[in-house]
């Protein structure tokens, strides 16, 4: 974990309102799939707090980290306007990461919307390790599906709610209608709360291992403020240090 000034290498809109930003990383510690970092976009007091984002990739050779973000509020609006050679203040890597895939495990990687980042990073890592996996990406409409080049070596099965591209329906409907779930299957999911909850329920029903990347508003990102808690079977847990990756069976879904 380190605080540093990163140089932006590339920033491009990859789907409607979705951007991929590549930036220089430090020598201190390589980020792992599932981990995140926080960004302070300027020295002003508005926006005040750092914002958390997941890694969507990391290139060891060039020490370049990537993120995929959606333009939502002040920080992400300003991030969208950043160009190569500009800098941003970053702290990371933060949080835990996905557990290693076991022999004979058949992981189903499930990404919904802006939950794409950490799942894409996991898929690309597994691809390089030659570990078999199935990668599903769901979006409401094809306008929110990045061009295939942005998935690099890890091409997902595309699902859209309105059927404008790929399978008509969400990734979970795809799994239920097209795949025969077996004990070797496991879930690695990131995306909207509703999707995570359904994935957890489906995994539970079929008695499968299942992991979810959780989100919560954050102030410090390092475990100090106690602000980012979610309900866990052992009490309230901090997403920033106890997560963001949780065993979905441990979450009390509300």
């Amino acid at each position: 974990m380190k605080q540093f000034t990163a140089s932006i290498i590339n920033n491009q809109e990859i789907a409607q309102g979705y951007y991929q930003l590549d930036f220089s990383w430090h020598d201190n510690e390589e980020p792992k799939p599932g981990q995140f970092f926080t960004v302070k976009i300027n020295n002003n007091s508005d926006p005040l707090l750092r914002r958390p984002f997941a890694f969507s990739g990391y290139d060891t050779k060039s020490k370049t980290a990537s993120m995929i973000f959606q333009k939502r509020g002040t920080t992400t609006q300003m991030m969208a306007g950043k160009t190569a050679n500009e800098t941003i203040d970053i702290i990371g890597p933060l949080g835990n990461f996905f557990p290693a895939i076991k022999d004979q495990e058949a992981p189903l990687l499930i990404a919904g919307g802006i939950g794409l980042g950490p799942i894409l990073y996991l898929a690309r890592t597994l691809e390089r390790q030659k570990t078999p996996y199935t990668f599903l990406f769901g979006a409401p409409d094809k306008a929110l599906v990045p061009d295939s080049k942005w998935f690099y070596e890890a091409q997902p099965i595309i699902c859209t709610d309105n059927g404008s591209k790929g399978f008509k329906g969400n990734p979970l409907q795809y799994i239920e209608s097209r795949l025969q779930l077996e004990p070797k299957h496991s879930f690695y999911a990131c995306g909207p709360m509703g999707m995570l909850k359904s994935a957890a329920a489906l995994a539970e029903k079929n008695n499968l291992a299942s992991y979810s990347v959780m989100e919560q508003m954050m102030a410090c990102g390092v475990g100090a403020c106690m602000g980012c808690v979610i309900k866990h079977k052992d009490g309230l847990k901090r997403v920033c240090v106890d997560g963001p990756v949780f065993n979905s069976k441990d979450i009390l879904w509300t």
Binding site: K2, S45, L48, Q216, A219, M226, V229, L236
Partner: protein, 302 residues
């Protein structure tokens, strides 16, 4: 330049601390902050029993600030002594333990447990969070009631020889009255201030943003409110005042020293930039040398 802060013949090397609840137990920030540059860590409020705290959402950003309703989530005094103190003792700065209770007895019990524990010997002093609701008195905070502050300060004073700092709440009619009550009953210093009550409403969901409805406002938004409170308290009492509230730049810290504070704490600004306390220290040093101040107390204005 003398940047020290002294109470009861004990000195902190630098009169800059990190505020309770914003720095955990030190270890959270160890990799990001050079703790040797900080005078003291004020630990997250510890209570008698372990507390999970409030339901979420617990935090939200506001214009140039944030609201928090953490609900004093903490490990409880027993685990604090066995797990957190050994870690804190290893830090290259002093530790001031912030405590609270939900009754007079609870405050005393927490302090007594620390006094009785060998592991707590190294603590530099205590900061008493009086913004806690008094459950025996309809849940009104101790810190809004002159009588309660008198009784509490007196009771705690009898139990310790260590520096006793009372942390004032700004959510009162006249903060000077509370400050005087603490001074008259044996407080060694006053921290000025805790957070202001605030609230935001989600107009789409039509419910308060925070699960607890209200929360404490902190950050740059409260800087002028904190300076006004510190200025007033510094002129009502003669014990040292520790300025806190909205400090994110060295210029903010200088203003607290000019108001009369003898030490400052940095809170929310550390979330934004963990190196803020260190940068503030450097800026204060530079300003003082450029303006030929040899000690912090010389900065006080009329």
């Amino acid at each position: 330049m003398d940047l020290s802060f002294t109470l009861r013949n004990k000195s902190l090397e630098t009169a800059i601390g990190v505020a309770s609840g914003t720095f955990g137990y030190g270890s959270e920030y160890e990799k990001l902050v050079d703790l040797s540059k900080i005078g003291a860590i004020f630990t997250k409020t510890v209570t008698l029993n372990k507390r999970e705290g409030n339901d979420f959402p617990r935090i939200v950003e506001t214009p140039s600030g944030m609201l928090n309703a953490i609900g004093l989530a903490n490990v409880g005094i027993e685990s604090f002594i066995s797990q957190k103190l050994p870690m804190l003792q290893k830090m290259p700065c002093e530790t001031i333990c912030n405590i609270a209770g939900f009754s007079m007895e609870e405050y005393q019990e927490v302090l007594q447990k620390l006094e009785d524990s060998e592991a707590a010997n190294f603590l530099w002093g205590y900061e008493i969070n009086i913004s806690c609701p008094n459950v025996c008195h309809g849940g009104l905070a101790f810190g809004v009631d002159v009588k309660a502050v008198e009784t509490l300060t007196k009771a705690l004073r009898q139990r310790t020889e260590k520096p006793l700092i009372i942390k004032l709440t700004p959510n009162v009619t006249d903060i000077s009255e509370i400050a005087k009550a603490a001074e008259a009953n044996g407080a060694d210093a006053l921290t000025c201030i805790n957070t202001f009550v605030g609230m935001l409403i989600d107009i789409r969901k039509k419910i308060p943003v925070l699960a607890n409805k209200t929360g404490g406002l902190s950050g740059p938004a409260i800087l002028p409110l904190g300076i006004a409170a510190a200025y007033k308290v510094c002129r009502a009492v003669s014990i040292p005042v520790i300025g806190l509230g909205g400090i994110s730049r060295w210029e903010d810290a200088i203003q607290y020293f000019m108001a009369g504070a003898k030490m400052i704490q940095v809170g929310t600004a550390t979330f934004v930039d963990p190196s803020a306390p260190e940068k503030i220290l450097l800026g204060v040093k530079k300003y003082c040398s450029e303006n030929n101040y040899s000690k912090l107390s010389d900065l006080k204005i009329d």
